[in-house]
Symmetry: C3
Subunit: 406 residues, 3 copies
């Protein structure tokens, strides 16, 4: 795999995609998710696998579609205090339909807010609870002075199709490196969406690279149940996975963070650590050990799949204040950081792709002078030393990444 | 294996056994050993393997029986200065018969005393030397003022049968966990006897436990030659031994000491260390590396047998002042410490017995909400985290003890 | 292999050989090399493999013979400023023939000197460059005041035979321990020649030792191309090589230095380290990790041969000031240091030869009293402890060197 030079065009392109996707209301199964996929499909060729609601996928079941027509809270004078149409985070995902008057006490049981960020609307979901919740900025609680409120949640929950997107770039071998992203969050920029946008830009770059040893696949799916649905509907594919990375939280200003796979020292891990440690000058980075929490690396590393899957982030979810609130907006991310993440990933993929195991054809030492490679003794610490190292180590047992790390 | 709650009854029962066995004169092969076995046989079902004197057992030979009728030293006025019937430690085990007058100088060559404990009678043996020796308290040496003494050693050494006792509690599998104890010492409480008493109490408890995965075997034999005789007469049994522990010095007030097996990190070792490190609060304990000295763990760990065998003690032999003297009496041990040692052992056996290797039936992550196990993200550090760890690690390759220690 | 006691005779013998070989002009292929081999052949039985110039040996080709009749530089008054017959280091090895007048500027391009040692003539070679060079002491540059000089290089470069010497001492097995030395340097004492002289003395000693488990082979060859020629003409031999050591820089006053093989912990390495760490009291020594620079250990460790080969030196080449100059003369080496190096090597070979893997015939513990080996408990820290260790560890899996190092 040859080098790929990223330019300002790449920064412009990924930022344009980010800006167009950000406002859309997405959840596990809804029109917003499908519309987002259609937008992405104009950037790279996407194959969509549509899985009907109710389909059993391993231990899980594909949920119904959930569409919001309107959702609001009005006080006794008809002031609309909370309105889904103003911010799609106001209504917890998969809240059940409701229409009626509730007392202030009753209402409070259905409200969620953030004590830490009084002006932020938290992201909430009620996927499997048959409940309804509104999210609200804590500072707006003071506006709830009436004893009674009108609550309207006009939602439609009915069988639909979960959309699972992938983009495959075939290489010389059928073994695949996978980048996994999730698109099921509503208007959140760094969590979820930044990974999708970087993944798309990486695949636009990869498609222009002439020589690929591995095949590469980008997944764009709903988190957890979507990833499991993809795996369950593509079981034959699993043995072809060499490994991969989950991309999320890729656009903030923090240093790059690599979360190791369950295997900790797989090729996937060694390539990522090599780039962070050796190819980025003295730019700081962080490394996390594998833990069974996190995003869809859980599914890939889990027993029954067990392929090495790391996660590439800048500031990890739950470590930045704006995470899972309305504050995780376009001001948290910027094109430069997104592009830097794309660059790190492309370097990692190049290390992976170019990593081969050589066995030199010589017995003993080759006649370097004949090959024009002999270096006088006095300078052997540089080029000559390197020649010697290469000769000694290319024994058909060690890949070049191991030799380089030595 | 379910939990077993020890009560005061257990303390009473083991102390009663200790008190009844302590006064009896035992050696490798004699009536005292057999009588002790008969007393134990009233507590737990014992199978006795009787091996005739002269039987070749691997590199060794089973010794003759040795019975003492009387043994004393009298001065010229007929004062009986040393008398076996006052303390059975006075005569070195397997001393040859003798009757006659000896000079003071000659007598001194046949006396053993302890410089460190002037009022203690040391434990001595002349198993393979065809010699005779009396043990005496150093402070009593001053009573030997006469130039001549009458020595009477009326002993009977003739072919008999070495008794090897075992108690087997069958479990779901034929693989056995072995507790090995030795009963060949005369009136010594902590060394030798405390291990027998704890072993018996453990087996009384185990017999009341309904579910045992492993089979369990208690050995009560003469040390070294008896253990070798047992192994040599049960060679087919060796492959069934999963491992085990020697019990000795179990009743003193010191902290529990675990001496590792030759393998150092076998299941036997991991279970013992797990209990000492994780299941006993901040109670102190000591760990010793394996060394080829010690008790019958030597035989089990040796080439030709090579099964992992640790040793569980409180203060190890040779580290407490009273060791191998008449001071190692009932005041060195007490029911509380003996019961605590029983408790440690039962915990270790439970860890061993319950240690299995699970392979969960899921691919990827199970749908925890469906199973009522989902824990909101905010609390995942506790129960949710644990669920995830269990899911990730139960891959059919690691036993649960490894996962717990992780 | 029994012990061999070195005496003053050995010191005398190796010094005599050193003194007789030192003055001879040697290079890869010339009469001086052959004459040196003939001298050595009077000390130990040498087999000579003669490989014609032009023979392809793996990636290399055997060079032509190169003989010097005369070589000098004269100034305009006929003063002979530089003369090969005064010091054979003056002419770079394999310089091409030349006869004519050259300007001072032109001459300077063909001169080599050492800035660090102004009174030393550096050792230079032009094996594959078709050039000519004179080496000169820097302080003699001031004598070059004339504008023009007469240069005469009367050399004869034509097909000949490269001589490869070996001496085999057969042992009980066909597996061989190899000592590799190189003889292709002109009058240099510590680099190259000291290794040959020590190797010869070691083999004189080995031939007097009655019991050898391994077979032993001494190689005396031109460095690099000669070693490769030997390997290429004896490919069937390679699988018989257990490992070995390159000997060079063996006579200076520095402490012994061991450079590890590529394998780092092979038997070859363990034996050398055992002797340096455990058998030489508190005499200092140094250990170097393997690096692909150095001498013929490169060929043995390289892919395609890959047998463990260490290097035994005192002060390593390039670490002593006189290295590769006329100062590396008989004053750098002395008989005591050479003999000490011989002693170290003989100890290492004895450790290798005596290293076997025992499996004791016992199951459990043998009856030490019967074998007269029982040691009372009180002294078990010494002999008894040792007995027990030996019994526990001789399980047929560990060689005695491992047990000793434990």
């Amino acid at each position: 795999m040859e080098n790929f030079i990223l330019t300002q065009d790449n920064a412009d392109s990924l930022w344009k995609l980010m800006a167009s996707l950000y406002p859309i209301h997405r959840t596990l199964v809804n029109r917003g998710f499908q519309k987002s996929m259609e937008i992405i499909g104009r950037e790279i060729p996407l194959r969509i696998t549509k899985v009907p609601s109710g389909t059993k996928v391993w231990d899980w079941v594909v949920p119904d579609a959930w569409e919001v027509k309107e959702a609001y809270i009005e006080d006794m004078r008809g002031n609309r205090l909370v309105d889904f149409h103003k911010n799609n985070l106001h209504l917890a995902a998969y809240s059940v339909a409701f229409r009626g008057k509730v007392t202030r006490d009753e209402l409070m049981k259905h409200l969620i807010w953030s004590d830490a960020l009084p002006d932020a609307i938290p992201y909430a979901y009620e996927y499997y609870t048959h409940n309804w919740k509104f999210s609200i900025a804590k500072m707006d609680l003071s506006r709830l002075k009436d004893p009674e409120y009108t609550v309207v949640i006009d939602v439609d929950k009915k069988p639909g199709e979960m959309w699972l997107g992938d983009c495959l770039l075939p290489g010389e071998t059928k073994q695949e490196i996978v980048l996994s992203t999730y698109l099921c969050h509503p208007s959140l920029a760094n969590d979820s969406l930044s990974g999708v946008v970087c993944g798309v830009e990486i695949f636009k770059a990869l498609s222009q690279i002439r020589q690929r040893r591995f095949s590469y696949r980008l997944l764009i799916v709903p988190e957890t149940v979507g990833c499991i649905a993809y795996l369950a509907t593509h079981e034959d594919w699993i043995p072809k996975i060499e490994g991969g990375y989950v991309l999320t939280c890729c656009g903030d200003k923090g240093p790059v963070t690599y979360k190791k796979s369950y295997f900790a020292s797989s090729l996937i891990d060694r390539a990522a650590l090599h780039v962070l440690q050796k190819c980025r000058g003295d730019r700081s980075f962080r490394v996390q050990e594998f833990s069974p929490e996190g995003s869809d690396e859980r599914q890939f590393n889990a027993p029954g799949v067990r392929v090495p899957f790391g996660s590439l982030m800048r500031t990890p979810y739950a470590e930045y204040a704006e995470y899972h609130t309305s504050k995780d907006d376009l001001s948290v991310v910027n094109p430069e950081n997104l592009l830097d993440t794309v660059d790190v990933l492309l370097q990692i993929l190049r290390v992976l792709d170019n990593n081969v195991t050589y066995k030199n054809k010589y017995r003993g030492e080759p006649f370097l002078s004949k090959h024009g490679l002999h270096i006088p003794f006095i300078t052997t610490k540089d080029a000559g030393f390197l020649n010697q190292v290469i000769i000694q180590e290319t024994d058909g047992r060690q890949d070049i990444l191991s030799i380089a790390d030595k």
